[in-house]
């Protein structure tokens, strides 16, 4: 039972990772990060229900993660809007300031 949840979470995480590393559109990158966080949430819930030592703690942590993810998404979108105002684009390959 646990294995199918974990497999599902791993698949979600990998899709998120792929999107975060490869997509050129920064909004999609943000969405991909949400996907990875949600893969983690799924793991937390699965372990709290079917883990070796089942406990409600996992579900509470999932709630925390959802809250933090909401905040993160808000900050991330705000940064994107600021970037778009400054540079007129949110394509990730246009941003190589780290090189300088």
């Amino acid at each position: 039972m646990l294995a199918s949840y974990l497999t599902m979470a791993a698949i979600l995480f990998c899709i998120g990772l792929y999107g975060a590393l490869v997509k050129r559109n920064a909004v999609i990158v943000l969405l991909s990060i949400e996907l990875m966080l949600n893969a983690v949430n799924l793991n937390l819930v699965a372990f709290s229900k079917y883990g070796v030592v089942p406990s409600i703690n996992g579900q509470i942590f999932a709630l925390f993660t959802i809250t933090v993810a909401a905040a993160e998404a808000a900050v991330g979108v705000a940064v994107l809007i600021a970037l778009f105002r400054a540079r007129g684009t949110i394509k990730t390959d246009e941003f190589d300031e780290l090189r300088r």
């Binding site: 975060a20 590393l21 990158v29 990730t92 190589d96 780290l98 090189r99 300088r100």
Partner: protein, 619 residues
């Protein structure tokens, strides 16, 4: 005893002169001859005092001490060395005085005197050394001085080439001497290298050193002497060395340095006495060189080159004397040769100074223009030709009679050499001084007194030095052998008469050919054009060396150069290229995009995970 104890001071006078001249530099031009001559004069005075004292004395200090092995610095006064000291310092003093006139207008006269003083220091040090290692050091130093002075006029390409040739060719011999020193060090009891120790070990061949090794060491020592003393086949540097200033030719390349080889063999004579094979080698090489160089001298046109080949020939005589066991004869001839050959070279310098030409085909009739020089040159020529009662006669006679005692073949070779000697000297003398003045001789005038006086002193010595050792007065051989009765020098009247007659015959032929003109020398040349060309080129020994040694060597060098350029440099360039290529590749990774860095981080994580997981399975 007092003077012999302070014999170590002798080389220091010229060294001081050298340091002074080098420190002062060019601002010192007017004083240079005085400083140089004063250095030699100090050495000469002390040398004469030491020689007059006639005491054997040696002293040394420890130089390097490693685990019971000690190398020492020391000096040793013996009858042989004190005689050499006097010869060297006397000739160098006279050459210093002479050069004051000859080199007067040279820009670098202080440098010249500095080098000469350094040379005198090295030569005196060589003579005084009490062990083989020190002798070897000074041996190299005189080689360096010779190099510097041959190449003194370095703006002439010939002088540069000659200096390099002199240095490289003598190095071949020096390598032999170094090997001899190393072998001695290896085989001598207690690793002693001092001459007294060598004398003890090899005297009467006590069996401390194997016979074969003894012969090998003696032959290697002889190899050093062959290089320095211009014996066949390493004689090729000496004629070219005449590119140096003429006083240098007189001092280094006639009287002193080239005689160092003879001196070396005389100093280690006990080694040679212990090895008959080495003795024979010395004798035959010497006799061959004496004859060989004399034939070349017949066909040369340059005054100085004739004298150079004559020097080689006379050094051959000295080697011959050593080889037949007559150490005293060799040293006697060394002494007389130093005087008359220095005289001849200085007189040749006087000619060059006056006429600015040194080709005997362009000279002629100088006798009327330069009366004193012509007389002095004549005295030198007579002494060299071995005409009694000039000094060369007595020393050559000592050698020839020793050779006759030993082996008639050597005697005949020596006699033939004597004939050729007087013939080429007659040719040289008559072509330069007799007849009508040529175009070059027209403007010639006698040299100044400062050049004539040293020549006059040498001329007096060239006349009287022979009486140091005559059949009725064996002072010199007695002196050299320290009172032991001489076994060899019992010259018979027959030898004296024959050698004098042969020398006179040579002079007579020369007179007929170049003064009376009853024999046309040109007819000989026309009859055998190949031979005279061959002789003029010195039997093409230089060409032989060029094709047998120099060319393969150059090819080897070219090969090595290509190897260096394409293989060694290739590896270097490959390393550099790999590093910079790697750099360019990694630089491309740093594109400033977070996603690329993220990919790299993920890949790194995967690698770490794989490694961690893999470790579980393998270990």
């Amino acid at each position: 005893m007092a003077y012999s104890e302070s014999a170590w001071l002798i080389p220091l006078f010229p060294l001081a002169a050298f340091l002074l001249l080098t420190a002062w530099g060019r601002g010192f031009r007017r004083w240079a001859p005085i400083v140089g001559a004063a250095g030699s004069l100090g050495s000469l005075v002390l040398s004469i005092l030491v020689m007059a004292e006639g005491v054997d004395y040696r002293d040394r200090i420890n130089w390097i001490k490693i685990d019971g092995l000690s190398l020492s610095l020391g000096y040793e006064v013996t009858h042989l060395t004190s005689l050499m000291l006097v010869i060297v310092s006397l000739v160098s003093l006279l050459v210093c005085v002479y050069s004051a006139g000859y080199m007067k207008n040279d820009e670098r006269i202080t440098v010249f005197y500095g080098y000469v003083s350094l040379f005198v220091f090295s030569m005196l040090g060589l003579v005084l050394s009490d062990n083989m290692l020190m002798l070897y050091l000074f041996w190299e130093l005189v080689g360096v001085c010779s190099f510097l002075l041959v190449g003194f006029w370095y703006h002439k390409p010939e002088a540069k080439a000659a200096a390099k040739k002199a240095f490289i060719v003598t190095r071949i011999g020096d390598a032999g001497l170094l090997l001899a020193v190393l072998l001695l060090f290896w085989y001598m009891p207690n690793h002693a290298l001092d001459f007294a120790g060598i004398q003890n070990v090899f005297h009467g061949q006590s069996g401390a050193v194997d016979d074969g090794i003894t012969t090998l060491i003696a032959l290697l020592v002889f190899m050093g002497a062959v290089g320095k003393s211009g014996q066949f086949p390493l004689h090729v540097w000496l004629p070219d060395a005449m590119e140096g200033p003429t006083p240098i030719s007189a001092l280094i390349h006639a009287a002193t340095m080239v005689a160092a080889g003879v001196f070396l063999i005389a100093r280690t004579f006990v080694l040679f006495e212990a090895s008959p094979a080495a003795m024979d080698t010395v004798a035959y090489v010497g006799a061959f060189t004496a004859l060989f160089a004399a034939t070349i001298a017949l066909a040369q046109h340059d005054v100085k080159r004739i004298l150079a080949y004559s020097t080689i020939s006379q050094l051959g005589y000295m080697m011959l004397a050593l080889g037949v066991g007559s150490m005293t004869g060799a040293i006697f001839h060394l002494m007389t040769h130093a005087f008359f050959k220095a005289l001849l070279f200085l007189a040749a310098g006087s000619i060059i100074h006056a006429a600015h030409k040194q080709d005997i085909r362009e000279l002629g009739g100088l006798g009327s223009r330069m009366r004193v020089t012509s007389i002095l040159f004549g005295i030198g020529a007579l002494a060299l030709s071995g005409i009694p009662p000039f000094s060369g006669f007595w020393s050559k006679d000592a050698i020839l009679s020793a050779a006759l005692d030993h082996n008639p073949v050597l005697f005949v070779a020596g006699l033939l050499g004597a004939l050729l000697t007087s013939l080429y000297m007659a040719r040289l003398y008559f072509r330069v001084f007799a007849g009508k003045p040529s175009a070059a001789s027209e403007g010639a005038h006698e040299s100044p007194a400062v050049m004539l006086i040293p020549m006059i002193v040498l001329a007096v010595l060239a006349v009287v030095a022979g009486f140091a050792d005559t059949p009725w007065n064996e002072w010199l051989s007695g002196w050299l052998l320290g009172g032991e009765p001489s076994a060899h020098d019992s010259s018979s009247p027959t030898v004296m008469i024959v050698s004098a007659a042969v020398s006179l015959l040579g002079l007579y032929i020369g007179w007929l050919a170049y003064v009376k003109k009853t024999i046309r020398p040109a007819s000989v040349t026309e009859a055998m054009p190949g031979l005279s060309k061959w002789l003029e080129r010195g039997y093409r020994i230089d060409d032989l060396f060029a094709s047998v040694i120099v060319k393969p060597y150059r090819m080897l060098g070219t090969g090595a150069k290509l190897f260096d350029r394409y293989v060694v440099d290739g590896v270097v360039r490959l390393t550099a290229g790999a590093a910079s290529g790697l750099g360019r590749m990694t630089a491309a990774l740093q594109n400033g995009q977070v996603q690329t860095y993220g990919i790299a981080a993920v890949l790194g994580l995967i690698v770490i995970i794989v490694v961690m997981a893999g470790r579980r399975f393998w270990s």
